[in-house]
Amino acid sequence: MREIPVTPELAKDHGLSGEEFARIRAVLGRDPSLTELGIFSVMWSEHCSYKSSRIHLRKFPTKGPRVLQGPGENAGIVDIGDGLAVAFKMESHNHPSFIEPYQGAATGVGGILRDVFTMGARPIASLDSLRFGRPDHPRTRYLVGGVVSGIAGYGNCIGVPTVGGEIYFDECYDGNILVNVFTLGVVRHERIWRGTASGVGNPVIYVGSKTGRDGIHGATMASGEFDEKSEEKRPTVQVGDPFTEKLLLEACLELMRTDAIVGVQDMGAAGLTSSSFEMASRAGTGFVMDLDRVPQREEGMTPYELMLSESQERMLIVAKRGREGEVREIFEKWDLDVSVVGEVTGDGVGRIRWKGRTVAEIPVAALTDQAPVYDRPAARPAGQDALQSLDPAALPAPSDLSETWVALMSGPEMADKRWVFRQYDHMIRTNTLVLPGSDAAVLRVKGTDKGISLSVDCNSRYCYLDPFVGGMIAVCESARNVACSGAEPVGVTDCLNFGNPEKTEIMWQFRSAIEGMAKACEALSVPVVSGNVSFYNETMGKGIYPTPTVAMVGLLPDAGKHVVQWFSADGDIVLLAGADRLGVNLGGSLYLKEAHGRVAGTPPPVDLDHERRLVAFLREAAGERLLASAHDLAEGGFACALAEACITRPDGATGARVRNPYPEAVRPDFAMFSECQGAVLLSCPPGNRDALLSLAGRFRITIKELGTVGGEHIDIDGVARIAACEMRKAWREGFAAALGLEG
């Protein structure tokens, strides 16, 4: 095999700009070898280097009394007291899932699980946030089926429950679906591990599956000519092996209970390359690695392929000198490959050897710290004003409000998602106290009274119409969902899904969304401890709605005091907290899209000071056991929130009779379906009324009593009325029906 010459053209095929190629020659003081080019190309890729997003990500608040590990590690870590902490992160696997939905989604789950147990944490729960094209798009059903079964196939097998998530459908995702997965793990403070390669002379150990030509950087195509058998060497889709990952999980946690190691990092994107160089970079060290010692699945792999392979279920470990034996013993017990592939050096250079020669020699800092950083130009799109203009008065009023109400509740956005979450094992590990179906999932932490509350949210219509406000809302809604369950929001992770950052309007969306999210996080004092950016979500130049998915982690001091979203007892009174937040807002509403076929206007206004007080009030009310239920007003407005409170109870429906919280003068369809931020529908036994009202007073929350739970009908006095069981049936069957799936 002859090394093919590295030219600017080849660099371009590797996605490196002219300037970037020049920079490589500068830092090396020579032309890179093919292997080195490959290494730079993946390390300086958007995915690994965050070159277009870094300067904006700095705007997030990342510190706080509970933060044990902020962004920059495999996962963020937040203290939950009593020597325990939670490690969590969210990852995107959008493009792979579009090409091969089952394997793409499955390996996405595998990746995020590794990010969490790499830190020493035992994963206890996952969430999935999904976006697909129109329900009637020819490919949507296939993609939904594949992605959902892929998440199930991997998560169920490894035994980590998928306890919640979200799933939306919109034309803008027809050619570019979003698959974001979140995992949270629990770890004792003293068992937290980080990805550092410190200690000159310490062995670098490869564990897990063998390396194949999986998912190698598309560039191998370009550089393929140098080998006759290039057809056979075609980069292949990554296939996940959850069984091997389960063994890897148990073996790693067993190893981490010893003190034989100094650092661990999973091999995710850019496998061996990113794990080795990033670990050295964090420790300010260097390393030598001998590729002949890497366990290989296929014949004749080149150094280029070995360094860029994205084979799954692999980890890189730096152990203490002389402790290799213990590592080997544990991984062999679990039938996993283990091989000492190199050692830590002190000269800050990464040296890769293969068949006795050095095929790459790169100063670690040059590759990591000196990676390019761009402040890309951003500009508000010309069309934005037109997009935001909306004259509600011009909208025709529906002939039959109840019909519209049922239509919204049974549409794919609001309808029961059990077709999805029944395929996920959401009970395994016996911690799930609130199963999928409420605003937030709640898990107990065994051995303590504590509970963890989880919600993932993003209304991308809002973000499209106003990325700044939409970003604020994503944070506020997820915090509200968690607070509705009675928890205190303690940490955020996010997945920022956007189009091509080289376009000024995309960069504007990105910057604005981050600034909105940051402002909301500041106001609610929740730090962002980890996250992920996915750019270039475009097909044929058409970008998706900006979709900054936010996952919120909440803490309940007493899991037994959690609250659910559905009414439970006849005779309970129904109240609306944040009643002063109601307004006529149709901008970006579900009603506007479904009933009038438009996505326009501006999202509902947000009052961050109110959100802060509301979250505190809800926690306090739950803590004092005053609430029977709490459900925030979101898509579909007051009427849909009320309907959800009546029909989402797992074992059936109940009616409720309430008065219209809007003034008479407001058009009834606007009163029912206007969307707002900061209002929550509560129910409680009559006996708790006074205590609840005075508590609301203490937090300066406007609260209105609306009516009572019970009866056969969901009844908004003088506006609309429908049999609860009829609404429930439509809601239960709507999802499968809309997608033409078997229920």
Binding site: G159, K246, L247, M427, T430, R444, P650
Partner: protein, 233 residues
């Protein structure tokens, strides 16, 4: 009184079974690695759920080859109580300790949900004292829980009173719509001729505490404890 919770590569309900036994029911429990070849000192054996060997080839197919399964065979032959839950049931089928086989759910989808079970017999150590006809609320979580056996085997099971649990509606009727996977005769659990080996797809260990939505699963473990106590005398 010590119970063994077997652990195979890919077992993932082992900790749940252990928790239910030790921390809820309060009996002594110990994990036993699949390479062990003896079960001495144990009075009952739990083969927990999971995806042993990834469910590759067939569920339970590779696990049945583990050394510990020979010990289970001997333990069962000596009349010791054995319960196989979900993947544990599949392993017992593959090992030939119970008749029949599992095929993929009729829906071709994994199903995780609460179902209702009608208790058909109190002859097993795990249903001792539970009145036949009693309806239990218990979760299932499987992709291959569609029980199949040929006609003769089925009639033998029915005739021998070896169908222990049937999927039913809340009122106790074993209707087709109450069947989550297509199992023959709505069968959710069966036992061997002696009655000491029980295999069931639903997960009693997941509903042994009220906070989890149902405590009905605890009845099976309590039954096991009193059965062992009686035998002890």
């Amino acid at each position: 009184m010590k119970t063994a919770v077997l652990v195979f590569p890919g077992s993932n309900c082992d900790h749940d079974a252990y928790h239910a036994l030790k921390h809820v029911v309060g009996v002594d429990a110990e994990f036993v690695w699949h390479k062990e070849s003896a079960l001495s000192g144990f009075e009952a054996v739990v083969i927990p759920g999971g995806f042993t060997y990834g469910d590759y080839l067939r569920t339970g197919a590779m696990a049945k080859l583990s050394p510990v399964m020979e010990a289970v065979r001997a333990f069962a032959a000596a009349g010791g109580p054995v319960i196989g839950i979900c993947n544990g049931f599949q392993i017992l089928l593959e090992a030939g300790l119970l008749p029949g086989a599992m095929i993929v759910n009729e829906s071709l989808r994994f199903v995780c949900d609460y179902v209702h079970l009608r208790t058909e017999t109190d002859r097993t150590p795990f249903t001792r004292g539970i009145p036949p006809g009693k309806v239990l609320k218990i979760p299932v979580a499987h992709y291959q829980g569609n029980y199949f056996a040929d006609g003769d085997t089925l009639s033998a099971l029915e005739a021998g009173g070896r169908v222990v649990f049937r999927y039913c509606d809340p009122s106790g009727e074993a209707t087709p719509s109450a069947n989550p996977n297509g199992s023959a005769g709505n069968i959710a659990g069966i036992c061997n001729e002696a009655g000491n080996v029980l295999g069931m797809m639903p997960h009693p260990e997941r509903c042994a505490e009220g906070v989890l939505g149902s405590a009905d699963g605890r009845l099976l473990f309590d039954a096991m404890v009193s059965w062992l106590k009686e035998r002890g005398r």
